[in-house]
């Protein structure tokens, strides 16, 4: 009896040394979800992409990459999503940084900054079309002020989609960055200040590195969001031309040509590209410090 508990103890001990213990069970529910509800459908989709109607297993991929018009959607999408993600994260950081500490009206300002998150694609699209359209208030105002003579076209092109992604993506990034930022011990900045670091240096050398893991995650999420843009690319973009993003190609293949293998293949390509970008970002992140961001006590 004692021997049994002894060996069991030794066994759990050995596992614990490798980092395996009962706490890992906390992963259970999440794993259950992903495995039962995602893995099978996902592999089904991948499998489908290798079963085109004609040609070899890679025909769907080949036809995507062989066709400049299809292939081009990749660059189009990256050209849209990378700047948007950078801008969203990049703009959130200084704003959130200004909003550390307490001041009157902070809650209101936060709410106002986060509100665009509620707009949703459709209202944003409608608003952009109404507001930035040739006879919208924006152009009207500029013309009334004689800044321009002709309405500038800001919709049904790259910029329309760009704005819509900024409007929906910025609050998203801001909310995350602000919350991540609030987890950093303000004493550290004070310490840096006594060492002669001005605000820019404090930000660059102390806050930014401590924020990096959060920034990486935020960037990844905003990027993924922008990369899979679909409705706004159609609604306020130029879905046949400038903003023919990759999801339009996938949609076209899947829901207009009913070529599911090809749609799956395009989606897989999409996922892979995202994965490459994210791997790059997370790889960079893992080089940096990760850990608690408070001092002692």
């Amino acid at each position: 009896m004692a021997a049994v508990t002894e060996t069991r103890a030794a066994w759990t001990h050995r596992l614990a040394e490798r980092g395996i213990d009962r706490q890992l069970l906390l992963l259970g529910p999440a794993l259950l979800f992903v495995v039962t509800l995602f893995i099978y459908p996902f592999f089904y989709g991948i499998g489908l992409s290798f079963q085109p109607e004609q040609g070899g297993p890679f025909e769907a991929y080949r036809s995507f990459f062989a066709d400049a018009y299809e292939r081009g959607t990749l660059t189009t999408t990256l050209w849209l999503s990378l700047p948007v993600a950078l801008l969203n994260v990049g703009a959130s950081v200084p704003i959130a940084y200004r909003m550390r500490g307490r001041f009157r009206g902070k809650r209101l300002l936060t709410t106002v900054l986060v509100v665009p998150i509620t707009l949703g694609t459709v209202l944003t699209a409608q608003g952009l079309l109404n507001f930035l359209g040739p006879t919208g208030w924006f152009n009207r105002t500029l013309m009334a002020l004689h800044v321009i003579d002709e309405p500038v076209r800001l919709t049904h092109n790259y910029w329309g989609v760009f704005f819509s992604l900024v409007i929906t993506g910025f609050p998203f990034a801001f909310l995350l960055v602000l919350s991540y930022l609030s987890g950093i011990d303000p004493t550290l900045e004070k310490a840096a200040a006594t060492l002669g670091a001005g605000w820019a240096q404090r930000f660059r050398r102390i806050t930014l590195p401590l924020l990096a893991p959060g920034l990486a995650t935020t960037f990844c999420l905003t990027f993924v969001l922008a990369f899979s843009v679909f409705p706004s690319a159609v609604l306020v973009g130029d879905p046949a031309g400038e903003t023919r993003v990759i999801s339009i190609a996938a949609w076209h293949a899947g829901y207009e040509q009913y070529d599911y293998p090809k749609a799956s293949a395009i989606a897989v390509v999409m996922g892979l590209v995202e994965l490459v970008v994210i791997a790059a970002v997370l790889g960079w992140r893992s080089l940096l410090y990760t850990g608690s961001t408070g001092g002692k006590g």
Binding site: L188, L195, G196, Y289, G291, S292, G295, K296
Partner: protein, 351 residues
């Protein structure tokens, strides 16, 4: 970074949501001085340092550096160095980089940064830990990083908040000496917070004793040690036995009595016969002597060379005695006190 001649605090006050943490602190610090702030836990020492460093805005008062007003200046512009009570090490930088940080901020040439950083690391004996992150250090090692990080800059004013609290006795002695040495060699001005009287007495040129945010006494170590201004300072300076008594006679030697004891002592401040007073005496000033009053030993604590003894007088007064003799609990002893070692304070105290 310019050396100043004088730093003047005028009525410096800091309140936290209605609660006073520091009230009306007036203090002039001369260049090159070593000032120690002393006082019970929560008396406002760290608050005072933070105000000086510019990390806490003042609720009232001003700070002058010679003729420039300092309290409106950003902390990074003041050029002071600070050792934080909780270290505040940068968790993402190695020990080496933590220490080099300030030098890098000054844009010194790389070679000089390396040299000075390495020197500072050697000073605090952390050569082996130089590449570790703060999270991988022991408490004392972290504290030493904090010290090195502040002194490596050779700032015109160094603020140290209990910088040695987590070091062992030997290292603490050594660090004390180093800090004093740096202070003198570099001509620094130092404001030093400590809870350790001995440290304060041995290092500082002047001591400032705070209590409840208010200054109680400012003076040289000797003044504080021998002539505490009131019973609170006395209490804090090691007069562990503080006995409420009544004045009998005032004269060449003042006689007080109470709790079955009649003692002679030296008054601090005005006392008159009949006044309620507090008589203070250090444990080490109580001698076991044949001609003394009787008491019974209750507790004996081993403290190396001496023992700390708790005795109870026949009238039930509890007294602390420190002696090289080794009485045993239950022993009857007789205790005497030198009139010069017994200080008599007005009971009200100067709060």
């Amino acid at each position: 970074m310019t050396k100043f001649q004088q730093l003047r605090l005028e009525g410096v006050t800091r309140r936290f949501g209605g609660q006073d943490a520091l009230v009306d602190l007036d203090l002039t610090i001369e260049r090159g001085e070593f000032i120690a702030l002393l006082g019970p836990s929560g008396c406002g020492k760290s608050t005072a340092l933070n105000c000086l460093a510019g990390l806490l805005p003042l609720t009232a008062g001003r700070i002058w550096q010679d003729d420039t007003r300092l309290d409106t200046l950003l902390p990074e512009k003041r050029g002071f160095g600070m050792v934080f009570q909780n270290y505040a090490l940068f968790p993402h930088l190695t020990v080496w980089k933590n220490i080099a940080f300030g030098l890098q901020m000054r844009r010194l040439p790389g070679a000089e940064i390396r040299r000075r950083t390495d020197e500072a690391i050697a000073l605090v004996h952390l050569e082996e830990q130089a590449r570790k992150l703060p999270g991988q250090l022991s408490g004392g090692q972290q504290q030493r990083v904090a010290i090195a990080r502040a002194v490596v800059l050779e700032p015109s004013l160094v603020l140290m908040d209990e910088p040695l609290s987590n070091l062992d006795a030997k290292l603490r002695l050594e660090m004390r000496t180093e800090i004093r040495r740096l202070h003198q060699a570099l001509g620094l001005t130092t404001v030093y917070v400590t809870h350790d009287q001995e440290e304060a007495l041995s290092m500082a040129d002047r001591l400032v004793v705070l209590r409840g945010g208010r200054v109680q006494q400012v003076g040289t170590p000797e003044q504080l040690h021998t002539q505490p201004a009131n019973r609170h300072v006395a209490d804090f300076m090691g007069f562990r036995n503080l006995l409420p008594m009544k004045v009998v006679t005032v004269g060449v030697s003042t006689v007080v009595e109470g709790g079955g004891l009649t003692l002679q002592g030296s008054p601090v401040g005005d006392v008159h016969p009949g006044d309620e007073v507090v008589a203070g005496v250090r444990p080490e000033s109580l001698r076991i002597a044949e001609d003394g009053f009787p008491a019974t030993v209750e507790v004996v604590e081993y403290q190396g060379r001496e023992v700390a003894v708790e005795v109870v007088t026949d009238a039930g007064r509890r007294l602390h005695v420190r002696t090289a003799d080794r009485p045993a609990p239950g022993d009857k002893v007789r205790l005497a006190v030198d009139p010069a070692a017994l200080l008599i304070f007005p009971a009200g105290g100067a709060d």
